[in-house]
């Protein structure tokens, strides 16, 4: 025969459970705060290195590409990289737990969901759109001002169209995935609102 505790005893069981007794000292907390700041610094450094590499690549393109369209497209791409780098820096959380940790749990959770939703919804504007003018100009430059000498003109145009379609599809898929994810988050936000209003 098994003896199961009544519901109220489960609370007692929960509160009297043996824990690991992990000691967290004030020094641990200060150390962790410093470590997190260092991690943020390292993350920013990594992003600066990647962005610098992209700026160098597009700078090199500016140098070697023929025609004003491809050169301007490369310059616009550099501007896009710098803009996205600034946006990433601006949007990264500066601490492991977002601000407002002392607010009610539902409100805090809602704010996190809203932040994620807005990030997804606006990704098209700050993450994808800045690259479009540069990509379009480089593609137009390839069409009007430069042809691969090892292909016929007709074939070269087909290759350019294919690449343009693949890029458009890529942008479209990223946008669609973000919109769907944002819609899903909105449903969760609506559920939370209902719980607060009931």
């Amino acid at each position: 025969m098994t003896t199961e505790p009544p519901v109220d005893d489960i609370k007692t069981l929960w509160r009297n459970q043996k824990t690991e007794g992990t000691a967290v000292t004030l020094e641990n907390v200060h150390e962790r705060a410093a470590k997190f700041q260092k991690r943020v610094g390292n993350r920013n450094l990594r992003e600066y290195i990647i962005m610098s590499f992209l700026v160098l690549v597009f700078g090199w393109y500016m140098w070697i590409f023929p025609g004003w369209m491809m050169k301007t497209g490369s310059a616009l791409s550099i501007a896009a990289v710098l803009f996205v780098a600034w946006q990433l820096y601006r949007r990264h959380p500066a601490q492991s737990v977002p601000d407002g940790s002392g607010m009610g749990l539902v409100e805090f959770h809602r704010r996190q969901l809203v932040r994620q939703r807005d990030l997804l919804k606006s990704a098209l504007i700050w993450y994808i759109a800045p690259f479009i003018p540069g990509v379009v100009l480089i593609t137009l430059g390839r069409w009007f001002q430069f042809h691969a000498p090892w292909r016929s003109l007709a074939w070269d145009h087909k290759v350019i169209i294919l690449i343009a379609v693949i890029m458009a599809l890529g942008f479209g898929i990223i946008w669609l995935v973000n919109v769907l994810a944002a819609t899903k988050l909105q449903r969760k936000i609506d559920e939370l609102d209902k719980l607060r209003e009931d």
């Binding site: 489960i10 929960w14 962790r32």
Partner: protein
């Protein structure tokens, strides 16, 4: 508030609520390394929060809010990384536990089952369940979570039903 009083307030809260915070971390995180990491994250959030604590709510409410918010941020980050889904209290009421009541008789196993159940829940269900297990009344749970009184009452009703079903059914069948 100066740094010294922030440290003092943190130390006072950590001394008073340390064991409860550890239980909370156990409720959220199964992996021992991740759990220790979460506990430190909770303490860091708590220490940081005291720079802005204005005493408009009780210390207990503040500590539980900060701790649960830090824990749910941690869990959501981990869930996003693993693309795992949460279960709701409503779903938990309907699905079978699948564990053997005979085997689950010991306190250790009961706690393990309870933890598994809590960890499957998303916020705010997991939070209400943990606060209920800490023996908070509906008003306190409402103040900490920000849920309406009706929503808290419904959730507590469901939690009681789930606990009764999951942890007493086996025992009754054996009598």
């Amino acid at each position: 508030m100066d740094g010294g009083s922030q440290d003092e307030r943190y130390l006072g809260a950590a001394a008073e609520y340390g064991p409860a915070l550890e239980r909370l971390a156990r409720g959220y995180e199964a992996d021992p390394d991740q759990r220790s990491d979460l506990l430190q994250e909770i303490h860091l959030a708590l220490w940081r929060s005291f720079a802005g604590f204005d005493g408009r709510c009780s210390l207990r409410t503040w500590v539980y809010r900060v701790a649960h918010n830090a824990a749910s941020s941690h869990v959501l980050r981990r869930r996003r990384a693993k693309a795992a889904k949460f279960t709701s209290l409503e779903e938990l009421e309907l699905i079978a536990d699948g564990s053997d009541p005979e085997q689950a008789a010991g306190e250790h196993q009961l706690l393990a089952r309870l933890m598994t159940m809590i960890r499957a829940l998303g916020p705010p269900d997991a939070q209400v369940m943990l606060l209920y297990l800490e023996d908070m009344d509906a008003a306190a749970i409402g103040e900490i979570t920000g849920l309406s009184a009706r929503a808290v009452a419904t959730k507590i009703h469901r939690i009681k039903a789930i606990l009764a079903k999951r942890f007493q059914e086996g025992g009754r069948n054996d009598h």
